[in-house]
């Protein structure tokens, strides 16, 4: 199994969710995050004083998938999250040893 983690622009969340549902993904975890990459932050001005805001709001998506689906899921996320502009985010996968569904105690692929 693999964990697909995606950091995307907040306003693309609905597009990504819809694309993943269309692909057949059953669930995901979404959290608000903040950070920066090469894009850096933005500037705000208060009474003429400029502040650089480094950390930009982002959304973090986490999806557990079967090994066979991992590449396709990453493709789906990348396609649906892209705007072509700087700051679109990143997607990565990490191997997962085991998954347990709490209600039934099923293990592995059955728990996905």
């Amino acid at each position: 199994m693999k964990l697909v983690t995606a950091i995307i622009k907040p306003h693309k969340l609905d597009d990504v969710k819809a694309a993943l549902e269309a692909f057949g993904i059953q669930g995901m975890t979404v959290s608000e995050a903040s950070g920066y990459g090469r894009q850096r932050g933005h500037t705000e001005v208060y009474r003429g004083a400029e502040y650089t805001v480094d950390l930009v709001p982002k959304v973090r998506l986490e999806i557990l998938v079967d090994d066979l689906d991992a590449t396709s899921v990453v493709d789906v996320v990348v396609k649906s999250a892209t705007t072509g502009r700087i700051g679109d985010g990143k997607v990565w996968t990490t191997p997962v040893d085991d998954v347990v569904r709490v209600r039934t105690a099923e293990h592995g692929a059955d728990a996905l």
Partner: protein, 450 residues
């Protein structure tokens, strides 16, 4: 009794009282989330203390018979408002003394609260309260006597700016705004900068609150200015319209500066411009034409928008720009009267632009300078004495973790979503249920106290 005038003055007093909570919100939204409660409490604390002092001896110092040279009223004359409950109005007219006492009380409260914006995030609450009491007693009450206490036919002798100098200060440009602005500058210098001033971002944590506060200030300010006519009459009406339109022009002026200098017209600029315009029109609202008020407001909006940058150039941490808005706005208004006043207005003489020459302008400058020097010197003495006796600041650690926790043991906002934020500690007055709870609550109170 003039019931119309009495009704209007009591209404105005209530409007002006609302300005202090409005100011608290205006300031409170501008600080970081960790110090919002302390910011609000400095205004509420000043209101409570100055209200009591005003009744005890403040009114008497400001409006008692002059003790010499127009500098100080007799503090013993109306001690505890003695003798003022009796109705001394005639059938033909007059305002009950208590209506005037109340109207002037809320001016004193607001003036002290204005200063708090300069020392956001870092001043011990106990030191602030002591400062508020001493400053009201030694600076505001005497200066209110100078500016607001007019002599009358029945033998009362008032203050020197109002009577001997004859400078125009309709509702308190000198006594309130220049006075508080200078005190704010001096106090900010003596208290010192916030940790990380100029390096760390210190963004306003809640701009809608700032806008709400500015709205309440604007609303209450109609009582401040139009109420200062002390009657429901033409003067009050002219002051009302001038107060409206100068504020509008100042907002436009401030926003235009921002648009051209910074690229965006900001909400903080809109709120600040409103206050700058209100400050500037305060001394002038009875002496200008509505058109003159537009000019004055626009000038105040532009100059104050430029002046708030001075603290970075000169390195003083006037945190919420009391100097840039109240001192500069107060000077624009007080000196602007010397240029823009017209004898066509109900409480005006001709200024420089209306053929009045330099006489009025000179009087205005003398009044402003006198208040600035007196306020600066006495504020410095008060602040240095408190600093030597009990200190002015919270510890660096308390400042970094947030003054709300260290001074008030509260948090302005509950950000905790998991676990409900801990367990209930012992309630005061209730007996402890278990020994281990006792230990725990003691530890908690050590952590947040001192």
């Amino acid at each position: 009794m003039d019931t119309g005038a009495t009704a209007w003055v009591l209404t105005s007093a209530s409007l002006v009282l609302l300005m202090t909570p409005g100011l608290a919100l205006f300031y409170g939204g501008m600080v970081r989330a960790k110090s919002v409660l302390n910011m609000l409490m400095m205004s509420f604390g000043a209101a409570a203390l100055v209200g009591v002092l005003w009744v005890m001896y403040g009114y008497s110092i400001a409006f008692g018979d002059d003790m010499g040279a127009g500098l100080l009223g007799n503090p013993a004359q109306y001690l505890g408002l003695a003798g003022l409950m009796e109705d001394t109005t005639t059938e033909a007219g007059g305002l009950p003394a208590m209506a005037f006492v109340g109207f002037q009380a809320v001016f004193a409260i607001l003036t002290v609260a204005l200063i708090s914006g300069a020392v956001a995030d870092r001043m011990k609450f106990s030191s602030w309260m002591l400062f508020a009491g001493l400053w009201a007693t030694l600076v505001y009450f005497p200066v209110a006597h100078w500016v607001f206490d007019f002599s009358n036919d029945s033998g009362h002798v008032g203050g020197w700016i109002a009577n001997n100098l004859g400078a125009i200060d309709f509702a308190g440009g000198t006594a309130v705004h220049i006075n508080a602005g200078v005190a704010a500058l001096v106090l900010a210098l003596i208290v010192g900068k916030r940790r990380g001033f100029g390096r760390e971002p210190m963004r306003p944590h809640n701009l809608p609150t700032v806008m709400l506060g500015a709205g309440l200030l604007w609303f209450g300010w109609f009582g401040f200015n139009a109420g200062s006519a002390l009657g429901a009459n033409n003067t009050a009406s002219v002051a009302w319209v001038n107060t409206l339109v100068a504020t509008c022009a100042a907002i436009l002026g401030w926003l235009l500066v921002e648009r051209f200098r910074d690229g965006h017209a900001t909400s903080l600029g809109g709120a600040s411009g409103a206050v700058a315009g209100l400050v500037a029109i305060t001394p002038a609202c009875g002496a200008l034409s509505p058109f003159g008020s537009i000019v004055l407001g626009a000038v105040a909006g532009v100059l104050c928008a430029l002046a708030v940058g001075l603290k970075y150039r000169f390195g003083y941490d006037d945190s919420l720009d009391v100097v840039g808005v109240h001192l500069v706005g107060g000077l624009v208004g007080t000196i602007g009267v010397g240029f823009l006043a017209t004898s066509n207005a109900p409480a005006g003489v001709d200024g420089l632009f209306f053929g009045g020459g330099f006489a009025s302008l000179g009087d205005q400058v003398i009044a402003a300078l006198a208040v600035m020097v007196y306020s600066a010197v006495v504020t410095a003495v008060i602040a240095l004495v408190i600093k030597a006796v009990m200190g002015l600041r919270v510890s660096d650690e308390d400042e970094a973790s947030g003054i709300d926790q260290s001074q008030h043991a509260e948090a302005g906002y509950d950000f905790v979503t998991l676990g409900g934020g801990g367990s209930a500690a012992r309630q005061s007055g209730a007996e402890a249920r278990a020994p281990h709870l006792d230990v725990r609550s003691e530890r908690t109170s050590e952590g947040v106290g001192a």
